[in-house]
């Protein structure tokens, strides 16, 4: 399964990842990502029929009761926001609609 990567595809991925790439970045990434994906193609030759996927190696149950616990005060949680409104307990963002 060869995947020649196009600039249009790189632009599509950049949109999905919320990255506004420069023209130069698009050119470079198209070449570099194609190289890396071509290298990763070697996995296709391995027979993995019926092999389970490993997403993580945790051995134990991680469930716990959903209990209320102390957490950061709102003012501290907002302390690093580039445009916080601590008195209102809110993050300010640019216009979303129109």
């Amino acid at each position: 399964m060869s995947t020649p990567l196009t600039i249009a595809e790189v632009e599509r991925i950049a949109r999905l990842a919320h990255l506004e790439l420069t023209e130069e970045e698009k050119q470079v990434f198209t070449r570099q990502l194609a190289d890396i994906l071509a290298y990763a193609e070697q996995l296709q030759a391995i027979d993995t029929a019926g092999v389970a996927a490993t997403a993580h190696v945790n051995a134990h149950e991680a469930e716990r009761e959903d209990e209320l616990r102390p957490s950061l005060p709102v003012t501290e949680a907002l302390g690093n926001a580039p445009d916080g409104a601590p008195a209102a307990g809110l993050f300010r963002v640019p216009r979303v609609i129109g």
Binding site: H18, V51, A53, T54, N80, P94
Partner: protein, 495 residues
């Protein structure tokens, strides 16, 4: 030579016995940093005032006859991707240039509880993504052994700080080799604990199924001591394991009798620098002399670990780094005037460096519709086969031995134009993270590298990999190896 070169145990012992005050030790570390950091660039931040206050507190405790922790007064450095309350933490990224965490990582609480004194935050590859420390927004770290070479990455600043005797203990994080490879490149000891052994709470996430925090030190005993402090369950990290934490220093007995060590001959024979292979063969002879028995083993899927790793880690990174959006913390582009989406994408393009963007792009691609099965799912299946390889090997051996890196430290700029070549440098370290095992790198040689009429001596590391939660055995073998050689006592010419 500074006190830090003697290691953590000796510093803590001197302070506890009153041979030196914690403040004197702290000043010595700060002076040393001030002297070498302009050329090394190992520190993003030095916290002089806070450190001296903490050291004075240790001295007061001692004067009052209070019990001192095992690391009381010991200066330590922390990789700049771990949160310390009130201390700027950047992950060496422009996007977090002004970030001041409102809480401590669990490892920080544990170390400070044990009396350690943080003297600064160390430079690293941006968000721990890199193998040379060249992907830092604050410039590369230089190798203390040869200033035109990389210290390795991503915990390059931590390894350089220990090698240059600024501190006897530095924290690193290891997602695909980021503690072990810089330890190898800088001639120090570095441990990647079993996945889950150490809490990740407060570590800025890169790839959550692979990331682990661990110590970089001058010797194995210090690493064992630090690991005993760092390990344990944590209600703030559901992946932190509940396994009992032994005193890892208690089982260091100077020999490796009865330990069966597996050598994956076929895997180690390909693409390895001849100087590294020679050091590796010499190390195998030493291991035999310490009482271990060596047997050849097969890890048939290990050669696929790099593609598997770079598909898995980038997929996880693309998800983890979605949180940097210019809203909750970090950099927001002043250029965005067309609404929220433009603000997101401009802030992220201006805030992230090239390697981070490349990995976010690759991860987004392999998780996207139409490619998920062929890349991400396939990689996870091969991850299972890799785990089965190690399971099978550990039926007959207790430890697996490999070089840590296929080459001695390479030159700054040597691989920066070709990301794939940079990724290949991780061939012996990434499989260990994919299957969750503990690994340690210890110095096993110095190789000569000619430079402009002179000769640099470059460190080489030996990697020992153990069974899940059996750090004790790899530490025991590593310490026996260390006692039988002089490599861990070598220091760079600048020291």
């Amino acid at each position: 030579m500074s006190r830090a070169a003697g290691g953590v145990r000796s510093i803590a012992g001197d302070i506890a016995a009153g041979r030196v005050s914690a403040v004197e030790v702290c000043r010595e570390a700060l002076d040393r940093i001030a002297r070498v950091n302009p050329s090394l660039n190992a520190f993003n931040l030095v916290t002089e005032e806070r450190a001296l206050e903490r050291a004075a507190h240790v001295d007061r405790l001692r004067a009052a006859g209070s019990a001192l922790g095992p690391l009381a007064g010991v200066p330590i450095a922390v990789k700049d991707n771990m949160c310390v309350r009130g201390m700027r933490t950047t992950a060496s990224s422009r996007i977090l240039d002004a970030f001041v965490p409102p809480y401590d990582a669990t490892v920080i609480s544990k170390l400070e509880q044990a009396g350690a004194v943080i003297v600064g935050k160390t430079n690293c590859d941006e968000f721990a993504m890199g193998s040379s420390n060249e992907n830092s927004a604050y410039g590369p770290v230089r190798n203390p052994w040869a200033s035109d070479r990389t210290p390795g990455g991503s915990s390059g600043g931590s390894a350089a700080a220990v090698a240059a005797s600024c501190v006897g203990l530095a924290l690193g994080s290891d997602t695909g080799g980021s503690i072990r490879q810089p330890a190898s490149f800088c001639g120090v000891t570095g441990v990647k604990p079993t996945y889950g052994r150490v809490s990740r709470y407060g570590l800025l996430a890169f790839a959550s199924s692979l990331d682990q925090i661990g110590p970089l030190t001058r010797n194995v005993e210090d690493a064992a001591l630090a690991l005993s402090v760092l390990s344990g369950p944590d209600p703030m990290d559901s992946t932190a394991a509940r396994e009992a934490v032994p005193d890892f220093t208690a089982t260091l007995d100077g020999n490796a009798r009865g330990v069966r060590i597996g050598v994956p001959r076929a895997f180690v024979s390909e693409g390895v620098d001849s100087s590294v292979l020679a050091a590796f063969e010499g190390a195998l002879d030493v291991l035999r002399a310490t009482g271990a028995s060596l047997v050849d083993i097969e890890l048939p899927h290990a050669k696929y670990a790099i593609p598997v790793y770079y598909l898995v880690c980038t997929a996880e990174a693309s998800s983890n780094l979605a949180r940097y959006d210019g809203v909750k913390y970090g950099y927001r582009s002043p250029e965005a005037s067309h609404g929220l989406n433009e603000m997101y994408s401009k802030s992220r393009d201006e805030g992230f460096g090239a390697e981070v963007k490349r990995r976010i792009m690759l991860g987004t691609y392999v998780l996207s519709a139409g490619y998920y099965d062929a890349f991400y799912l396939k990689a996870q299946q091969v991850r299972t086969l890799l785990k089965q390889d190690y399971d099978r090997a550990f039926e007959t051996v207790d430890v697996v031995v490999m070089p840590t890196s296929p080459t001695p430290p390479f030159r700054l700029g040597e691989k920066t134009d070709d990301p794939l070549q940079m990724y290949l440098a991780d061939v012996f370290t990434v499989s260990v993270n994919l299957v969750g095992l503990p690994g340690i790198s210890v110095p096993c040689g110095l190789v000569d590298a000619p430079r402009a009429g002179d000769v640099d001596r470059l460190p080489v590391g030996l990697q020992l990999v153990g069974k899940m939660f059996d750090e004790a055995t790899i530490l025991r073998v590593a310490e026996a190896f260390e006692r039988s050689t002089e490599w861990s006592r070598q220091v760079p010419p600048m020291v």
